[in-house]
Point group: C2
Chain length 347, copies 2
DNA sequence: CTGAAAGCGCTTACAG
DNA sequence: CTGAAAGCGCTTACAG
């Protein structure tokens, strides 16, 4: 220890500065925050005193008085899904321009933890909450109503809650339209036997995607074949197993539409391991447009996550900074990104 | 609007609860926090009152009094690098067990923003700071010393600062040893012409890796060939360009060691686009062991980021919860993960 | 078992 | 231009 000791435990407060500068605390506050009039000479004396003492204001005092924390929380299900990075970045850079900082929170997609995030809003730990939620539970609405501070929900199925006059905004991406676009692309290049990796049964999100798959088949006049649809846990491993099963069918599909990219990547690996060639033996599409899809040249849907984050943050800022009172429901449409994996159909 | 109005703007405080329950605020505090003795009957009356009023305590009041925020900040350079996810998860789950929440902050690898994170510590917005830093600037040390609250630094070159008695802990990964291990592996399977994608010149982190590459060559008795070493901006695109250049040399290397995975992936794409085969035409190794490397079967170094996060968080908890006063310098050694891309050398 | 009171560190009308 | 004072919402000895 070469004398790099931490300072004594008495934190220096605004009182200490006032005493040293020989003025009142009100004047110190004015000088340091540049509000109201302070004589130049006094100001300098105060700044010198603050520097001498290494004074740093304690935020809790300010928050208690002003009721503003300058903190926005973004609550996301987990850290390992690339789809959230764009959202984080979009929110972060938007709120930063208004002097807010970002507080991240992980819900693991569980209602209890989503409620935990709302609780922090109620406790005034944060000024606003942007919540990427999986749950569509009445309790979530109830607690948000109690909070009083602004909330924006970011989700995939927000049509369920939109336009009901609830006191929160929603930003959603219309994945249903996305799956339709993917399917139309596959149909257009000539595929008639299209398999589907469906993801997790009994979830809003994957149920809706499956609906879109069915509608696309129907409006193309194709029959829905049970054996072409494989549910799994929407992971890479799930996609691997599902993909291998479909690819080994006697009468195998010529294309497989995956309800997310992780499954598509698993499927890609399965086909590679069996020795098949994409797209000659099988066309493949994903959804989410994560980095790996680009590298593996897998057709996918860009979910515009950065724009979603920016939109949510802007709505938040409208309430917090511009005193907006109404909430909006904003919809984005995914962009289809066609790549080698579904460039053509080999005849 | 179907009557889902936000409550009136008067937030209910502990005073309101006390009034409704007909007791003093001190008793309300005791009852709600389960501290000291409160008669069962009184407690119930208070809880009922709190529920009636939808009372939620305001954290700022508590923080001001207790000087504890229960918030740990993890400051990381950016959101788009997978290497940080494991750290986030490790920190998050460790501190959660002690009742702390995670606040994330982005520094963009800039000294100013790293100082910004330290500032929040000084302002008492958080109880402790875990900082993944790029800068090795004296000012950072100075401000940390001023802060008084615990700091743990997470970095690649912390040997520069370790063991000097500074008032912060460090957790590092010995990348130098990692590069040596990769090179020894390549040498062992017979490679003598080993190229190197060096990353960004003039940075501590990449300079050190380059040193390790040179030392490995030297101790194997091989000469350092300038034309086999390519510096770039350590991105996928940088790796693509550097990799293509080396692969197109008349006397091309039989293996390329990359100073991170992004470059390795870019190199993989370059070789693929030229029509080369890995590992038959070229052995390839990366560093960071990100997801894509696993999928592309690229040999890499597991940086044990989750363990690093857990270690940093544990050291933080030792100070905050167990009143530890000393700081430690912890080192991890990367794990070599050999995959197809360098499984053998074709003769 | 409960209440009265002090005080955490700020900001902000209000006087002067 | 500056000071005195109130008050934000809590917790915590200290009495009783």
């Amino acid at each position: 220890m070469e004398g790099h000791e931490k300072p004594a435990n008495h934190r220096v407060s605004i009182n200490d500065v006032a005493k040293l500068a020989g003025v009142s605390v009100g004047t110190v506050s004015h000088a340091l925050n540049s509000v109201g009039y302070v004589k130049q000479e006094t100001r300098e004396k105060i700044i010198r005193a603050a520097e001498t003492l290494n004074y740093v204001p304690n935020r809790a005092g300010r928050i208690l008085k002003t009721r503003k924390t300058d903190l926005i929380m973004l609550a996301i299900p987990d850290t390992s899904n690339e789809i959230y990075f764009g959202m984080i970045e979009g929110v972060q850079k938007t709120i930063k321009e208004y002097g807010y900082s970002l507080l991240l929170y992980y819900t693991n997609g569980l209602l209890d933890q989503e409620l935990g995030a709302v609780r922090l809003l109620q406790e005034n730990v944060i000024d606003g909450l942007i919540l990427v939620h999986f749950s569509y539970d009445k309790r979530l609405i109830d607690e948000i109503i109690k909070a009083g501070n602004p909330v924006v929900l970011l989700g995939m199925c927000n049509h369920l809650w939109a336009n009901r006059g609830y006191p929160f905004g929603t930003v959603s991406i219309d994945v249903y339209q996305g799956i339709l676009a993917v399917m139309q692309h596959l149909l257009r290049i000539g595929h008639k036997k299209i398999g589907y990796l469906a993801g997790k049964a009994d979830t809003e999100v994957y149920g809706q995607r499956h609906q879109a798959y069915m509608e696309a088949l129907k409006s193309a006049g194709l029959e829905y074949r049970q054996e072409y649809v494989s549910w799994n846990d929407y992971t890479e491993m799930g996609g691997y197993n599902s993909g291998r099963a479909l690819y080994r069918l006697e009468d195998k599909p010529t294309a497989i539409c995956c309800s997310n990219d992780l499954q598509a990547i698993g499927c890609w690996e399965a086909v590679r391991d069996i020795g098949g060639c994409i797209p000659d033996d099988l066309a493949l599409t994903g959804l989410d447009n994560i980095n790996i899809s680009r590298i593996l040249n897998i057709t996918s849907l860009d979910m515009r996550e950065m724009e979603m984050g920016i939109s949510a943050a802007n709505q938040m800022m409208a309430h917090l900074v511009h005193d907006e009172k109404e909430y909006e429901d904003v919809y984005f449409k995914p962009n289809l990104i066609v790549r080698d994996s579904s460039l053509y159909m080999k005849r």
